[in-house]
């Protein structure tokens, strides 16, 4: 093991750059999939004829495929039908598609968990369906969704490492390049990379816990 060699200034900078790519890809995908997940989950909850059924089919298909396959598909198969993307765009697209499907299920079950009596009370006072959804059901459901949504975000952040397969220069990718030079770098680099993932993800779960206890 060669800690000093493995963790040289250049290597640290290279790892840090990779980590920034990881965080950047994760952040964009989180924002996009959160928005799309809420829209799809709500549309499915609302049981709109045709639309809800079609969305159900799409969501179920995506949820039952491995993310790795979706990443491959986005980067290698889509160009065959004329959709070409950069590595970064492909990674964001694949992650967003997959995580939106996962989040939409969290949103849908969160909405379903709200007592029907709440809806009856609101509707019987003259509120429209949309008003009932946005003022009564959604705010209560969102509070319940916080823990599963955050844990989905943590998964997403870790899943960015799968994009190593299309050579996205994220943390795992850059780590590989470093330890490929020297077998003695492997363990030090793995330890450092683990610490980096851990700090961010553990931070996220602490935030989730705080949000949970505040609403209790």
């Amino acid at each position: 093991m060669d800690f000093a060699g493995a963790l040289s200034g250049d290597h640290l900078k290279f790892l840090f750059n990779g980590f920034m790519v990881t965080l950047y890809i994760a952040f964009i995908s989180i924002v996009l999939s959160f928005i799309i997940g809420i829209i799809i989950g709500t549309l499915r909850y609302a049981k709109i004829p045709v639309i809800s059924k079609v969305l159900a089919l799409i969501v179920e298909t995506i949820r039952n495929l491995p993310l790795l396959l979706i990443i491959f598909f986005t980067y290698f198969a889509l160009p065959e039908i004329g959709i070409k993307m950069s590595i970064t765009a492909a990674a964001i697209t694949a992650l967003t598609v997959f995580e939106s499907a996962m989040l939409s299920e969290i949103v849908r079950s969160g909405l379903n968990s709200i007592d029907k009596g709440q809806i009856e009370a609101a509707r019987s006072s003259g509120l429209t369906y949309i008003q009932t959804l946005s003022k009564i059901v959604m705010p209560q459901a969102l509070r319940r969704m916080v823990p599963p949504i955050v844990s989905q975000f943590i998964s997403l952040l870790k899943d960015t490492s799968l994009a190593v397969i299309i050579a996205l220069p994220e943390l795992m990718h850059n780590a590989q390049i470093i330890y490929a030079q020297n077998i003695n770098y492997v363990i030090p680099i793995f330890i450092l990379v683990s610490v980096m993932y851990f700090i961010v993800n553990y931070g996220l779960s602490l935030i989730a816990r705080r949000l949970e206890s505040r609403q209790a």
Partner: protein, 242 residues
């Protein structure tokens, strides 16, 4: 004011409401009693279309409730409803619970709506709870807030669906007192309940239902002294002699 004409309702093959004919006048207090599963709550919930009817005609002030052209939200403004399980919004304060519909539906200003809300909170006896959350209140207090929430829309009709059935015995009185006061002020009320004392004291008319049918309609004194229907007699003997 409320009129059922030959109303039937089915849940699939199950015939829940059978040929309901009922006319409720303005200012009348009608108490609906009967064994559980007799269709009392279903009938009540048809009035504001929480349940739809299968056939027949149901009108409120000559507006057909189940007509596609009827603006149901417009109709519901005018009908307050109080539920067995209160159904207060847990994420909103008492004041917000009461003001949300007046603000969103009647387009009142926040100040106006809060003034009205405080007026009705005084009326149900808990103005000091305005800024509490429902979970901080007792069951009786929650139900009184629910009544204030219904009244804040200044409805012509108030529906009560077993308003005291989920309450501890010592809290039933405070809710019934509010309802009695409301009845004395001339509110049109339809009340599904098992509170025979309330029915005797306040009702203008008792409706007895069983198996989806209205079996008997009578003034309370008449009904309790001499129920005509065998099933009503049996029901009363079970409820009163224990």
């Amino acid at each position: 004011m409320i009129q059922f004409a030959a109303v039937n309702k089915y849940y699939g093959d199950f015939h829940v409401l059978k040929d309901i004919n009922l006319k409720i006048e303005k200012g009348e207090v009608v108490v609906v009693i009967g064994p559980s599963g007799s269709g009392k709550s279903t009938m009540l919930r048809c009035i504001n279309r929480l349940e739809s009817i299968t056939d027949g005609k149901l009108t409120i002030n000559n507006t057909e409730v189940n007509d596609k052209k009827t603006d149901i939200n417009q109709l519901r403004r005018n009908i307050g409803m109080v539920f067995q399980h209160f159904n207060l919004y847990p994420h909103k304060t008492v004041l917000e619970n009461i003001t949300i519909a007046p603000i969103m539906v009647l387009k009142q200003t926040k100040e106006e709506a809060e003034k009205t809300a405080m007026y009705f909170l005084e009326k149900v006896g808990i103005p000091d709870k305005a800024n509490s959350y429902p979970s901080q209140l007792s069951g009786g207090q929650q139900q009184r807030v629910a009544i204030a929430r219904g009244l804040a829309m200044k409805p012509d009709i108030m529906l009560f669906d077993e308003p005291t059935s989920a309450l501890d015995p010592e809290m039933i009185g405070e809710v019934l007192d509010v309802m009695k006061a409301l009845a004395k002020e001339g509110m049109t009320m339809v009340v599904v309940t098992h509170e025979m004392g309330f029915a005797k004291e306040v009702a203008d008319r008792i409706i007895f239902m069983d198996h989806g049918q209205i079996l008997e309609q009578a003034k309370p004194a008449e009904f309790y002294a001499n129920p005509k229907e065998e099933r009503a007699r049996l029901f009363l003997s079970r409820i009163l002699n224990h």
